[in-house]
Subunit: 542 residues, 2 copies
Amino acid sequence: MESFQSIASSCQSAVLEAIPSKWRLQGRPEGTDVRHIPRSCGLMTPQQLLITEKSATELLSELHSGSLTSVEVTEAFCARAAIAHQCINCLTAYIYEEAIARAAELDEIFAKSGPVGPLHGLPFAVKDYYQMKGHATTLGYVAWHSKIALTDASIVQLFKKCGAIPFARTTMPQTGMMLQTVSNLWGRTLNPYNTGFSAGGSSGGDGSLVGMRGSPFCASTDIGGSIRAPATFNGLYGIRPTAERIPKNGLVTTAPGQVSIKVSSGPVCHSVADIKLVTKLLLSHFEYIGYESTAVPMPWREVKVKEKLRFGLLKYDGVVKPQPPILRALDETAASLKRAGHEDLFSPTTAVVEFELPFDAWDVALTTWRLYFQTGAAEVKAVAASTGEPLMSNFSWYLDTFDIKPLTVPELFQLNAKQAENKRQFFEAWKAANIDALICPCAPSAGFPHDFPVWWGYFSLWNVLDYPSTILPLKGFKIDPVIDAKDFKYVPKENVFDKMNWEVYDPVLWGNQPVCIQIVRPPYTDEELIDVTERVDEICNS
Amino acid sequence: MESFQSIASSCQSAVLEAIPSKWRLQGRPEGTDVRHIPRSCGLMTPQQLLITEKSATELLSELHSGSLTSVEVTEAFCARAAIAHQCINCLTAYIYEEAIARAAELDEIFAKSGPVGPLHGLPFAVKDYYQMKGHATTLGYVAWHSKIALTDASIVQLFKKCGAIPFARTTMPQTGMMLQTVSNLWGRTLNPYNTGFSAGGSSGGDGSLVGMRGSPFCASTDIGGSIRAPATFNGLYGIRPTAERIPKNGLVTTAPGQVSIKVSSGPVCHSVADIKLVTKLLLSHFEYIGYESTAVPMPWREVKVKEKLRFGLLKYDGVVKPQPPILRALDETAASLKRAGHEDLFSPTTAVVEFELPFDAWDVALTTWRLYFQTGAAEVKAVAASTGEPLMSNFSWYLDTFDIKPLTVPELFQLNAKQAENKRQFFEAWKAANIDALICPCAPSAGFPHDFPVWWGYFSLWNVLDYPSTILPLKGFKIDPVIDAKDFKYVPKENVFDKMNWEVYDPVLWGNQPVCIQIVRPPYTDEELIDVTERVDEICNS
């Protein structure tokens, strides 16, 4: 049997070899911030740089008016993605010729009869988690390096039907259950702001590629933060829609039959308009590809939330205290919202109120992890063992920390009942607070060094409750070594996460990291969530 | 400790004692068809008889115009329900004074400011499965005879908010997992068409009470046929809406945490208009009582299905052959639909096409039962054992027949994955058949003698797939000893149900039973289902 190292080496070489020589970098890029490389390497034309720095919405406007062709746009993103991959190792497949051929075909159709759909001519990269006909879906397992799909996942079908062109596949970590992106098969994906930092995960290939502007957007997936961690750590816009509304056929999982917490799909991208564009298509999938039994076919509602909004502010979950820049970002957001006229001068209520969780967040995290791994992660271990590859140490650490063991069905029933009770409690608290949206941290830090054990709680809480949430980058926010100085007097809580999260922080090392906030709404109100996010974006980023 | 028999005896006496002496029957009614008793006993006024023989929609029209008062209507149904209970043993509580007081209050409000809601002044009985503040929810367990609820179930709140008045509680069988209604606590509920026959279950109290016109409608519940069996065996209209759309707070279950197959709620009633009235409220619950985390808040859609409909006809699931009247009812329905102009004379397609299941229905039933009892029914056994009451033999028989044992989580995952695959397969078959609705048997017989082991498959298939379905009585259909003669040459399949279902049939014994059909649509299309049902009703019952 071929060794797992040898398989990994061939797979990684194959991606690099698929990149045309015109886009090969000479040597490895220097420095830890590699975002400038596409611009400084001299391999892209000014027009290609211009194209790739536009949002999906802007590009579609030009593709639909005919001022850009799909071949131009696709070629530009193929160039930039090739360069990005050589900087941050974010791809598992590079499908250049096929993509350009499809782009040329779409340009011809456009000339004859106009655009084929709302995403006409737009290239996009596809996470290694979605089945794509003729390509492997590996989930970062060596054993699955040649697991070729016979059909496209529903969401790939949807985007293709809307006129989009898949042109690359992006990395995810072994198992998918890490907030960083590393595997024996594909190696490690780096953060373009600081290659010593994590790209986030599990959609770290998506996040870092879109961060490098190597794809206008990606449809990432999220069962515990996998859309939102990469969006956060790469300074992007993102959304985890209500999981129940997302079509799931062709989303590969190691453990089919786990029905307590469901995976969702949503874009990482460059604007709220892009969030709305892609999410509307995802949630209206049934109009394009028909009903499927994995999703609630709830019609998309065009909404406009009320003029006066009342925000809840959750700064701290009681388990892991966010580092100083995160706390300041939340305070400044609250202040901006109040200043922006959301406070009614003539009434005792204010536009931003403190919000407290109605339960112990550590207890909820325990429930969440045990629901993720109801069999004690037996399937994951079996797939890894089949080729002799070890489990990633970061993944194993979580299994130990949350004491993951096989459950009995009565134990599972208790956890399911607890989850239902948590949903009930949380919505009661929401009603009592009488808020329109909740603002909270994304992670307790603006990114992490590789292999750091990140506290998932601020992300995974919304998976276990199935509350949709968006990630909003604060574009003017810069981490400052003085203002955001470390609080040396802080006494961490009695849990391993809080101590490490406090210890690791160093405002100088973090100086280049983007900072984001998270906005949350109740299930099935994705439309209102996007609208609220647009308002906060206007206030905080204009 | 008080014996379970003694507790049962007190509980049953308390219901009878709550009935005012003016509505006590002298002696037990004679004969097996007791439907005439309210009319022939002389205890009700002509006006009361008239009121109780109207549908909910008709009554509401008069309540809203002021031509009937709520006190008149409530008094009439209290009378008829009291008489019904003495004939068929269908109640677990009788709440006369409270109901009349509320009716008087509503009449006062009406005089001042009009109706309080769409169900203004309408009395209704509540299954012993919904929590009702101050009343026990027993689920037919002796142990729970004094388990008093502190709040109303969401659906009770909803109807009260809409102006309806709960005036009685109705029986269900021990555990709720039987298609008949019998328990050690409440005894046996009888079928008003033939007291030797089952009332159906688990909402047998609802079905037989509405069959006797002792309540204008009831909101029954269904996880395997519990709305539809009582509707079928009592000749009523009924619907099991998409379970995911139903608010479930305050629905008591023996095994919280079972999330694979969910319970639904829907009316048993006297017309399609009543189905629509009640279902629209159930599915729009969030507009009245707010969002709750147990239900998808999908807005009700006013639909009108297309003029030309293409029906699938499933006469036989390959496991249990329906008895002759059922097969004839299906054939005659198909013929009526064709005659009614649904067949396009100038095209090769017909309005009714044969439909075949894309899987083995026995295999699906095995999956279904194992998903119902993932712990091997441990919780059920524990509750019964706590007072020494035995499990009902009919219930135990099913556990043995489907070889119910505690599952491991990996076994459960396999069954969950199988359920998901069955959903996928079925919808593929539906699309391939290109049908607008499916017509199929309700049960393989028009009712059954008490304790007969009924084949659930024609009901429970739609629970495991979560396809909404309606029950439509064929009002002109009469079982005929000659036309519907027993097929003595039939060779039953190699399963215990088919043999017994064939053996038990006797057209003379069945002569008085009503016959219904079932109509099915894909998940979340409850609105279209009701509209299709209305069309079939117009064609078959006018």
